[in-house]
């Protein structure tokens, strides 16, 4: 890439990169926990009825 093009881009500092990576991991874990919560609650609320649906 030519030097002038690279100048226009945004280069993150190592601190910013590290913080972003940690935030991404935290968001991933939070979404995973949210999905798991709804899965477990669905099973508990519906029980075997979770399979009882019109085909």
């Amino acid at each position: 890439m030519p030097e002038s093009r690279r100048e226009e881009g945004l280069t993150l500092t190592s601190e910013q990169k590290r913080a972003r990576q940690q935030r991404n991991v935290a968001i991933g874990l939070a979404i995973g926990a949210f999905v798991l919560l709804f899965y477990v609650v669905t099973i508990v609320k519906l029980g075997p009825g979770v399979l009882n649906r019109p085909l």
Partner: protein, 315 residues
Amino acid sequence: MNSMSFISESHTSRNEAISTALPGDFLALLKPRVMSLVIFTAFTGILIAPVAVHPVISSASLLAIAIGAGASGALNMWYDADIDALMRRTQDRPIPAGRMHRDDALAFGLVLAFFSILTLGIVTNWLAAGLLSFTIFFYIAVYTMWLKRTTPQNIVIGGAAGALPPVVGYAAMTGDVSLASLSLFAIIFFWTPPHFWALALVKADDYGRAGIPMLPNVKGPARTRRDILLYTLLLAPLGLLPYFMGVASLTYGVIASALGAFMLIFALRVYRHRSGPQASRCAMQLFGFSLLYLFVLFASLAGERLLVISGGQGI
């Protein structure tokens, strides 16, 4: 200025706009200490509900209420970033300390509020979800945006938001609001003024610097001491309400009476010692004991309900 220096400056300002906030900073936005109190009181509200609910449902409800409380904390820090920067007690919070942008806190708070209300509604019922959304609205729009900066009665009226979690917990289990859950609301509501005013007596300078009209700054320490005593006189008998309503046993009644008596003694000491280091010490002792008061009162109520439940019923 040549074109290269323009690009360079623009680049720098854009680069500074990229956050360096860590997950721990977002956790701090949730006000974990306030959150733990909310979890504890909401859990007691869940336990006094006279219904058998699956532990997964009650745990999920508690989690949703806790996240809702955390959302309130984040939105409070978003709005109050200016005054947080002026007070020693709050200037290390993520926004005033420069670790996070205000917009990030706003987005975080709104997302958490939305999902906590939605989750509570889907998992339990929409009355509980409505009460949770009202609690968040009251804490942010009524307390934080309006009362906190305009009236010395800020924490009296605003205290309703902190008193609602047991009502939300009870509603999540039963789909109803009962006198039993409202008795827990009343206890926290009348506990809040002596608790915060005891701290405000000692931290009056801090609040004054931020321009927050706390009672000691506006009406003076003498009036604050009198009002602390009055609210404690109301609180002590209110602590017995769960016993008189048949929600709690005589053991709870005895514990609540003893705690109320001690709370009154501490409030009387604050009323009598008005100057010097002894006055500050008495105020901080009342502040510390008020935390213990609420913890032991709700723990004994929750503890005996757990004993009853483990003796035969489900949660």
